[in-house]
Amino acid sequence: MTWFFSGVLLLLASGAAAVLFPARPRLSERVHLWLSLAGAATALVPVLRVLAGGTVEGVRFVTGVPGGAWVFAIDPLSAWFLLVILGAGVAASAYGTCYLAAEAEHGSVPFGRLVFSLLLAALTLVVTAQSVVPFLAAWELMALGGYFAVVFDDRRDDVRRAGLVYLVATHAGTLLLFLLFGTWGSHAADLTFAGLAAASGALGDSRSLVFALALLGFGVKAGFVPLHFWLPEAHAAAPSHVSAVMSGVVIKTGIYGLLRVATLLGAPPAWWGWTVLILGVASAVLGVLWALAQHDLKRLLAYHSVENIGIILMGLGVGALGVAYAVPGLAVLGLAGAVLHTLNHALFKSLLFLGAGNVLRATGTRDLERLGGLVRGMPVTWTLFLVGSAAIVGLPPLNGFVSEWLVFQALFQAGFSRTPAELSVFGAAALALVGGLALACFAKVCGVVFLGQPRTEVARAAREVTRGYLVPAAALAAACVAIGLWPWLVLGPSVKVAALITGVPRETALELARPAIVAGRWIAVLAALGVVVSALLWWLRAFALRRTSVAAAATWACGYARPTARMQYSASSFAAPILGVFGGISGVTAVRQPSSFETRAANLVLERALVPLWRVLRAASVRLRPIQHGRLQLYLLYLVATVSLLLIYLAVRGSP
């Protein structure tokens, strides 16, 4: 743990460095960057040791705060999430040093860096804390760091609103966690996770209550439907590197919490698995559908986080069913898929947000309808973004495919498990639908943003961003490709984590997952073959063309002489037919004018449910105002009434 804590301290130091010498911004930027890189590297040492199969002994602090000792430790689960956090986090932080430097007119850059480092440090503590009070402390610290990182550009009303919605939502989640651990702790000797695990047997009926509270409390953070309402707002409002971490990493802590509670609670009843599976299907389908409806690049990406959380939950759910119906193979596959998708989503979602950041930096707009043809100005960004898109759609030979493939495996196996779990095979169809929709959505994004003709002058003028922006993104893209081409790099560790969660012995788990791991190598072969064949055909084609003429012309517009940029298919029109198929639940309203067609997307839960609720509460509170009417006699009357009521109580309940 020494390595780990020194890493955390380095991260904090990097935050401090950002604010310490405001006179020398350049220097502080450098120091901040290198300290955070060093911190991440240091903290990674024990992580890799654990993932390689080693162990790291935890530490206990006795603080006198009620709830027992403060324990910090790294087990495979923590290690895996630390990998997620540090991997995506350090790339984002490197990107951020560069990105924020150009944001000085919007907010305080040093403060932005400080809260970002705080956020990273809090994240690492969340997944290593092994008792309740430090866990909750780190949890809230993470939420606050996130908040202040999001509201960087706090002069804009929409940013402040998004921030407030996020803050209130996360605080509500935290209070649910209070109740969760309060309920659990009332049966436990102390509030260390070990103590809770020991008490899980004594929970009895309140076990389901604990599960429900965990699902809600952590769900708000994970942001699955319908608890996702804060997510698109906040992630769109934040600076791009913050969006990357929020969307790629922070929401994963919700998943971590669920997994942690699952490990402490022990074998779940079947209906928990079904609940999680159905929630997963719902938020995967709705998330991608709502993403299709967006024209704001970052908001669209944020909705895809809802979708991917859904995919992760599907893996969790089917895994839980495997445990519940005693099909260990199923359990291991499902959970391994979920765990692996957590990592993959962190990688490609951060990559995509960084790409979006580049576009924003180069053009100053996030509105798809105002972009286009960026491929000429920004070839590198385009390539990186394309990798990310293919990965998130789940296409081979990239990492997204590997984890979705595991989840598919689990769903199919459930199909012939000869247990009640077999119904979850329909999840495969849902996941396929999600894949298809995601393909459509990212075809839309890539096509409308990068391909075709520039729709505006800013898009035409866009030029490639500097290396500082590209290198972190490139690193993430490399990781996506690596996992896609050599899946067995991550299959083994993810199976180990799954083993920890399911309680299956590690060797057994590896044995059960053997076919999948072997298949991983075949996937590599397949990917290689695909690349080779395509390259071969490409070469043949080039060969054929060398002997003949290659002419350039305007696009064939079916006889129409001069097509203009405004005649291109827009994002709205591209998505219209699909959204038409799904009708009302897509939350889209189409605006047709003779000269233009556009669709407007609504955040259904927020705008149709929560905002009205807030209004109702406000109205109710206004109706209570007359209580504080200002007249002393009235106040005295309250006093008299209270005393009389008390006397009545005395007469009724008092002893004779």
Partner: protein, 478 residues
Amino acid sequence: MIVLALILVPAFAALGAYAHRESAFRTGWLVVAAVVHAGLVGVVWAAPPEPVLGGWIAADAIGLIVLSVVSGLFLMAAIYAVGYLRRETPRGGRAFVSCLLAFLGAASLVTLSQHLGVLWVGMEATTLSVAPLIYHRQDRRSLEAVWKYLMLSSVGIALALLGVFFLATAQFAAPPGARPLVLPDLVRDASRLTPSWLEAAFVFLLAGYGTKMGLAPLHSWKPDTYGEAPSLVGGLMAGVLTSCAFLGIVRVFQVLVAAGLAPFAQPLLLTFGIISLVVAAAFVLGQADVKRLLAYSSIEHMGLLVLGLGFGGVGAYGTVLHVVNNALAKGLLFLAVGNVVLATGTSLVAEIKGLHRALPASAALLVVGLLAATGSPPFGSFVSEFTILRSAVASGHVVMALVIAGLIVMIFAGMGRSVLRVFHGDPGRAVAAHAEDIWLLAGPVILAGAVLMLGVYIPAPLGRALAGAAAALGGVSP
């Protein structure tokens, strides 16, 4: 002897301050007295003194904890007063400082008295010594505020006196040797007290001291008073006065617990607690004035205190700890708001913007205070609120726990909305730069550090005191 000194030093200091004409001297006098008082409290922690005056005056666990809160918060307020009195000279003139000191003396008397009659006298004294502080501006609004405050709390205090009489009556049946109205004896002979009179006494003391605490629906003076009083005084009222009033209820509750009558009291406490939370939530939403906002937040925390007492178990521990945290957080908030008011000349949410650009330090303190007051980890109030919620669940009130959590979220939303609105954005008009002055910042900074520390580390002696207090309230320490 030390315990007497704790009461007499501020009292004489008050007289001395009134005697002296030089205002700078008075301020120094104030700080010195506060420091001496704090030092004495430190001595009491180090070496627990013997009871004096036939056991009427003594420092037991609960009293000592509240006393330390009183002394510490007062010291911070005194330091703040140095900066404050440089900017504003209250029309009260000499009265201001001496009333502050008198208030300290009275509060110390409340915390140290084991005789419930004497405790009542101290409570009355606090009421009266605060009144001129509220009225320092001497305009219509502050006049109205002080009138309402005095009327309501006088009626309350009168009811409390009736309660004290009832308590004495309940002691008729006690063995002859028992000293009347002295807490240890009451607790000792609890089983032989007349239950009906004891319950009557509790009811009236609850109503009386509840009025001074500001439990809804007895709270109605609070927003007006806190809104009009200078922030410094508001901080002392929200931190010290309420704690003292709560101590009064705690004392009689101790007797009830000893007499095995807790089941009679607890439903009342829970009802008051829930009503207070509801009222606070209702009026925090869309509150236009930051100081009134703090008043309702204070009502919320009074509610939490009695809730913890009502749930019992670990709740008692949480409650005593929450007394400390609430006092620190409220002091911090009021002093921070005081800086804002000094700089902008208003406490209306609509008229303040972009504080973190205009007054970075005070703005940061304001947000820290917000988090501390809403029980966000890792602040001390988180630990106490969490413990109280735990006791709610442990005592089988799961639904009530959910309701409480919901109300706390509403209050957080309301407070957060207002505070963050003034925190963010562009500072419209220029604000007085002088507001960021070391004297004005030292107090809140130290308070922030303290409330933060209590969230991550509780010193062993304090832990023991808390455990002892919880035990005296029939609770257990988690």
